[in-house]
């Protein structure tokens, strides 16, 4: 009788273990729509921060959900993915927002020159600041 009890306990612990491991393995990606943004700022400000001190800006912004506002300077679709370029005060750099699938649906109604607020994940700075999985807020 005692032996049976031990076996049952081991089995339960085993199942819980497998379940937790499975859950962890299938952990979902951050949901940009539902997660509150960590930082809100303008396109010019984020570009300026990256071009003055990239290391410091990396620490501040990388992998954070950022709400960004600015003026649209370009709307592109490359390989079925939408990219919105935001103008900044700097002539060379801009902010590139790569849209999520949901964001792309709303892209049609946008026009160059319009001001916009987007939310996305910052992945870093090359010539421009790059945000991925962007959603259009307004």
């Amino acid at each position: 009788m005692k032996k049976n009890k031990i076996v049952i306990v081991i089995l339960i612990v085993g199942f819980v273990g497998v379940f937790v491991a499975y859950k962890m393995y299938n952990k979902p990606h951050v949901n940009v729509v539902e997660t509150k943004s960590d930082i809100t700022l303008s396109a010019s400000k984020i570009l300026n921060d990256f071009s003055t001190d990239e290391n410091a800006a990396n620490k501040l912004y990388l992998e954070k959900i950022i709400k960004i506002n600015g003026t649209i300077s370009e709307l592109n679709i490359e390989k079925e993915r939408g990219i919105i370029t935001l103008k900044t005060r700097d002539n060379f750099g801009s902010v590139l927002c790569h849209l999520s699938e949901g964001g792309m649906k709303k892209m049609k109604s946008l026009k160059v020159g319009q001001t916009i607020t987007l939310k996305g994940i910052c992945t870093g700075f090359l010539m421009d600041v790059i945000l991925v999985k962007c959603e259009i807020i307004s």
């Binding site: 299938n26 990396n58 790569h98 870093g124 090359l126 010539m127």
Partner: protein, 185 residues
């Protein structure tokens, strides 16, 4: 007199050369794609990066590529986390770069041409000389570069913990696809 003519010719030829050189501009893409793929016992995995910056100087055939490690998107969030935190340590080394020359750049035409890019690649803070085979198509409006190559993780001091070493291949296949357009300021 004859000598004078010769100098004038030389000057004219030089001038022509300068104008030709000026006409050859830089070609660039801000959304090139790089994917890597590893087949392993437990599970194949794949990651895509569509925010690669690549610049070609059409005068010299020099090429420069910059890649943000955090722009690699994995199917599983956990894999992406492990990739960034444990393997490539992207907080310490946020970018990978390639600098090189396209061999025989002038001979490339608007038909797909096989070519080689010779240069230095740096990943995870380690720089290595590399020759990458590519298919290049060149015209006035675009330079299209695509191809694939393999990298060995050990070459770049990327350590895979022994517990998961069976599930991650030592050799990773990298494919790339860049459509460069003339750069206008």
């Amino acid at each position: 007199m004859k000598k004078n003519m010769k100098t004038i010719y030389t000057i004219i030829i030089c001038l022509l050369f300068v104008t030709v050189n000026n006409a050859q501009e830089r070609f660039l893409t801000k959304n090139g794609s790089i994917s890597f793929f590893s087949s392993a016992v437990v599970k194949d995995f794949k990651a895509d990066n569509n925010q690669v910056l690549s610049i070609i100087d059409a005068g010299s055939g020099q090429m420069a590529i910059a890649i943000l490690m955090k722009s690699f998107m994995f199917e599983k969030a956990l894999m992406q986390e492990h990739f960034n935190e444990n393997y490539v340590e992207s907080d310490k080394f946020p970018k990978a770069t390639v600098r090189g020359d396209i061999v025989d750049f002038e001979s490339i035409t608007d038909l797909e041409t096989k070519a080689e890019v010779e240069g230095v690649i740096s990943i995870h803070g380690v720089s290595k000389e590399i020759v990458i085979g590519a298919n290049i198509t060149k015209s006035e409006e675009s330079i299209f570069v695509k191809g694939e190559f393999n990298i060995l993780l050990a070459d770049y001091d990327i350590e895979i913990p022994r517990v998961v070493s069976k599930s991650i291949a030592k050799k990773i296949k990298v494919t790339f696809d860049f459509n460069h357009k003339p750069y206008k300021k």
